[in-house]
Amino acid sequence: MLVDHFESPRYKGALESADVVAPGGSPECGGSVTIYLKGDGNGGVESLTWTGQGDIISMGSTSIVVDRILNQNLSMDEILAEDYEELIDSIGRDIIRNRTRHATLGLSTIKAAVRQYRKSGRPRSGP
């Protein structure tokens, strides 16, 4: 799954209409991602894409997480509640081993994007 997502990343590309563009990681060392988030004004996610460079684990995991969020239609609250350890287990702890930081790069940056979205005063839910 990880290699598949690395070789055929889902939802990769910049989003012109993003409400929030959030960078994460380090471009120089260890991998980096940029998350593009557009909220639906109702506590949910209208669009979510990403760009980035890094190893198989960081890029593959980011693709897996974005795919999961959109397929399961997670709300912003649910994104913030996503558990890093569960993510690592679902991808495979024996594959990720000590590269847990790489595996959580995408999810962590998505959470940062959600927090940034909320700080900007955008509505959590509609009228």
Partner: protein, 301 residues
Amino acid sequence: MRSRNQRPKGESVTEQEIQDKGYAHPDALVSTQWVADNLDDTENFRLVESDEDVLLYDIGHVPNAVKIDWVEDLNDPLMRDYLDPEHFANLMAEKGISPDTTVIFYGDRNNWWATYALWVFRLFGHDNVKVMDGGRVKWEAEGREMTQDVPSFPRAEYPVPERDDSEIRAFREDVEKHLDASGPLVDVRSPGEYKGELLHMPDYPQEGALRGGHIPGAANVPWARAVREDGTFKSADELRGIYEGEAGLGGGDDVIAYCRIGERSSHTWFVLSYLLGYGKVRNYDGSWTEWGNLVRAPIER
């Protein structure tokens, strides 16, 4: 016994190309052709792949290469340090490496983590070390054989070595003394990191530092300037142009190199020590994750 007229296996025009690059220690590098010609000599040579992208080996590697993951295999699991001599000896034995085995390192990202692993081997006095010029990228680009088969070698005898960090490793107090003596420092990070413009992202506080900038007086030579597009090292003349012409270093200097955690600076350490033949080069592996978080450590931007 080889006659005078017989060339060692693999000494072809490609080894001549390495010779022609004018290095102080040209035997520190071997070509991809040489590796291809000597793949089966697993008694005298051991190929070690060490990558930043840890899964690359599993997807495909040079036949008969073993994987050594710098993070998993060469680090102390608790304290920020490298493994102890007993664990090193055991790791060597497991990989079928004896003290006489010549270890040839290669990896991704211009052999960056390959040189880091080589540097750790040198801490334990394993001096029979070489790097495959061009690394993984060149091997693949040449369409050479890759395999997923993980080789298994008979357990070797490797006596527990002495560990001596003093020759090639600098600690914080060494850097402080070096600063007092105006010793040359080379910061091999990107210009953005060197100038303190690029700090790590808030979600990864353990990756970043509380302050940005560089150690006062350090010259900035980003590590990858030492290599060509194809991943091979530049010639000695080209390297001297960069490290001496631009950065003002000299062969007789006592140089300390650093980056963020010492991984990129081990690449520069290799270049200065083996390719340019500098007599004293140390890698400050505490690097910016230590210095940039250290109370009252002087910083320049």
